[in-house]
């Protein structure tokens, strides 16, 4: 019984640690694939890889100019709307980029993993790490300007935690994009819908009480609350953070197991 118990816990621990061990075991390959991504996205440009960071930074600058100087948006509340909006929008851009790229990652890399002895399990982690590489400095810079360096460091830590939390979604979306091609067509619409259902463009208290209760079912809303709490000191219920942790614990093992099970079919699918 004891032996079975140890074996069960050992398997559970292995499943939770598997994506991290994958990163460590294949760090050289991951580094090369990230470099490949950077070159793919910025080849022929003068600034090269700097564009990856410059793009969201410029986007934030444009939002700031439009909302603060042109439209002069002001809203009552504990935090200026612009500060709230820029912080939430950055987190949202990170999430949406990671999720959209995860959906296509297996198709993009099929010429490699179908023809070589290749650890497919590293692939869903590539868009995730790419997102971290891009948004970590931007988040740090923007939040530093808005709320100071301590908030900047906190926001960067939270971005890393958000990336870890997204791991099971990356694996599941990678499979979804491979087996259900229609999902790639529908996903941009679903992402837009999710953005409007999350408190990015508005603060939660701006919603009518009836709609506010719907936020309970949206983990992205919880993440935005956690980030706003850490950066601007807005109120947050501890249950929101616990809920996010529980969801991750529930999703990671099945996501990993299903992905590994599907590997042989992936190599034969396209």
């Amino acid at each position: 019984m004891n032996h079975d118990g140890r074996s069960f816990f050992s398997r559970v621990f292995k499943t939770y640690s598997a994506p991290f061990l994958t990163l460590i075991d294949h760090r050289n390959l991951v580094y090369r694939l990230l470099r490949r991504e950077v070159v793919s996205r910025t080849s022929g440009t003068w600034l090269g890889g700097l564009w990856l960071v410059a793009q969201p930074a410029l986007q934030m600058g444009a939002f700031w100019f439009l909302l603060d100087f042109v439209l002069k948006v002001r809203s009552p509340g504990q935090v200026a709307f612009l500060d709230y909006f820029l912080t939430a929008m950055l987190a949202w851009l990170f999430i949406s980029e990671v999720l959209s790229r995860s959906l296509n990652v297996l198709s993009e890399f099929s010429p490699i993993y179908q023809r070589t002895v290749f650890p497919v399990q590293v692939l869903p982690l590539v868009p995730l790490l790419m997102g971290v590489m891009i948004y970590l400095p931007v988040m740090g810079g923007v939040v530093w300007l808005l709320a100071g360096w301590q908030a900047a460091v906190s926001s960067q830590w939270l971005l890393v935690m958000l990336a870890v939390w997204l791991i099971p979604f990356c694996y599941l979306l990678a499979l979804l994009g491979l087996f259900f091609r229609e999902s790639r067509q529908v996903f941009p619409f679903l992402l837009t819908l999710l953005m409007y259902l999350s408190p990015v463009l508005y603060q939660p208290e701006a919603l009518p009480p009836g709609l506010r209760s719907l936020m309970i079912w949206n983990p992205i809303a919880d993440w935005l609350s956690v980030i706003q709490y850490a950066v601007h000191g807005l109120p947050m219920e501890p249950v929101q953070a616990w809920g996010l942790g529980a969801l991750w614990m529930l999703l990671l093992p099945p996501a990993w197991v299903v992905f590994r099970r599907a590997e042989s079919q992936m190599r034969e699918e396209l």
């Binding site: 050289n28 390959l29 580094y31 090369r32 694939l33 470099r35 490949r36 070159v39 793919s40 080849s43 022929g44 010429p111 490699i112 179908q114 023809r115 070589t116 002895v117 290749f118 499979l175 491979l178 087996f179 259900f180 091609r181 299903v258 099970r261 599907a262 590997e263 042989s264 079919q265 190599r267 034969e268 699918e269």
Partner: protein, 413 residues
């Protein structure tokens, strides 16, 4: 034992939709149509064996190599191997055109499972072998396809494998590099490495391998000495052709330098001319036992390298080899001018083949006769007629005698 296959098989399942495929991850009984590409196979391959896989397209050769290499997962059974395995299944997989040769070496090595330190250590030898030092820091999109292949081959074979798996190709690139790549593979053979390759060239299988596996529709038809396996395979193919009514005449006719794909290469056939009794042409009438058939071959070669060999093969209308002659077998050294150009004539006096149609193929081979450097297939058709009632394919030199030796009758005079 180097490689062990135990009840190894592969079937591909086809599902009606992605939804069915996803459900199959949880229910193995999910309905699907199944196509078996490799029937359960059990065999051992010893260390140092060079094994050639032969069979028609779709026989399961590439599938078997992929299963052993690990790019495909078997449906049943296991494939195990001892030692480091290097598989050249797809050269250049993962290369990115915008990245430099240097970056692509690191990327391809990482994709191939090499450690970063190993790649660093081998970097210079990889670049030198590919002969691309001058352009190694330029994006590979500026490389020709031949340069790309050289780089990919150089990366893939830079490590010292215990087992080498090659799909279809035994040499890559053009001219000089094709020879280099072939020599590297032969070097692995001489070093006692285990080599598995599939090829449609029976000549190469027979010349290089000490064991041949013939796969047919996913089943192992024969396993043994290459000479015996190839003979059985050729007979099978001839029967297949006869049944299908696809005679050799239906094959596309190819001229000189057909293998060079229009690219300029150093060692190549320049001209091939066939004449019968001093009459040249591509469809020639021949009288069995009387006509003289002459084949003139002109070639170009690398003046600094070894002289190539020339081989001529006569095949029946169904494509079966009937006879051949090569300068290597006959120990004839070819003379070349300072630029590496040369020519040679082959004469068949009193042409000994009996009535029928025969095609002539001409090959330019490496000095050891293992690698085909250039070829010209079906350069001429010989339509042989005979006045006698002799049966068969060829008139063999022969002697009749009664009990007393020395009293002879010979049609050869």
């Amino acid at each position: 034992m180097s490689i062990r296959l135990e009840h190894l098989s592969k079937s591909y399942r086809h599902y009606r939709s992605g939804w069915d495929r996803a459900r199959a991850l949880f229910h193995s009984s999910m309905q699907s149509s199944e196509r078996q590409v490799l029937a359960p196979l059990t065999l051992d391959i010893g260390r140092g064996e060079v094994v050639g896989l032969i069979g028609v397209n779709g026989a399961g050769k590439s599938t078997l190599l992929k299963l052993i290499a690990g790019t495909l997962r078997p449906s049943t059974g296991v494939a195990t191997h001892e030692g480091r395995l290097c598989a050249l299944l797809e050269l250049g997989a993962g290369f990115h055109p915008e990245m430099t040769g240097r970056e692509n070496i690191h990327l391809a090595a990482a994709v191939g499972g090499q450690k970063s330190a190993d790649t660093e250590r081998l970097f210079d030898s990889i670049v030198d072998f590919a002969g691309l030092r001058a352009v190694i820091d330029q994006p590979v999109k500026t490389y020709s396809s031949g340069m790309m292949m050289r780089l990919a081959f150089s990366v893939a074979t830079a490590v010292d494998p215990d087992i080498l798996i090659l799909d279809e190709t035994l040499s890559v690139g053009d001219g000089v590099f094709a020879r280099k790549s072939f020599e590297r593979i032969m070097g692995f053979k001489e070093a006692g490495k285990t080599i598995l390759f599939c090829s449609h060239s029976m000549y190469q299988v027979q010349a290089i391998c000490n064991r041949a596996l013939w796969l047919d529709q996913g089943h192992l038809r024969m396993d043994g000495d290459p000479v015996e396996v190839i003979a059985a395979y050729n007979e099978f193919m001839e029967n297949q052709n006869a049944q299908a009514g696809s005679e050799g005449l239906a094959l596309p006719r190819q001229g000189v330098s057909a293998s060079s794909s229009g690219k300029e290469q150093l060692t190549r056939l320049r001209a091939v001319e066939v004449s019968v009794d001093d009459v040249s042409g591509t469809r020639l009438a021949v009288k069995s036992g009387q006509s003289e058939v002459s084949i003139h071959v002109a070639y170009a070669s690398d003046a600094g390298g070894h002289a190539p060999c020339v081989a001529v093969m006569l095949v029946s209308a169904s494509g079966r080899p009937v006879a051949s002659a090569s300068t290597l077998n006959d120990r004839v050294s070819l003379r070349r001018d300072v630029r590496g150009n040369g020519e040679v004539w082959l004469r068949f006096a009193r042409f000994p083949l009996l009535q029928g149609c025969y095609w002539i193929h001409v090959f330019l081979l490496s000095e050891q006769g293992l690698m085909v450097l250039d070829k010209a297939r079906m350069v001429a058709e010989l339509v042989v007629s005979q006045e006698t009632l002799e049966q068969g394919v060829v008139t063999l030199p022969h002697l009749w005698s009664d009990s007393m030796p020395g009293i002879v009758t010979s049609p050869q005079g």
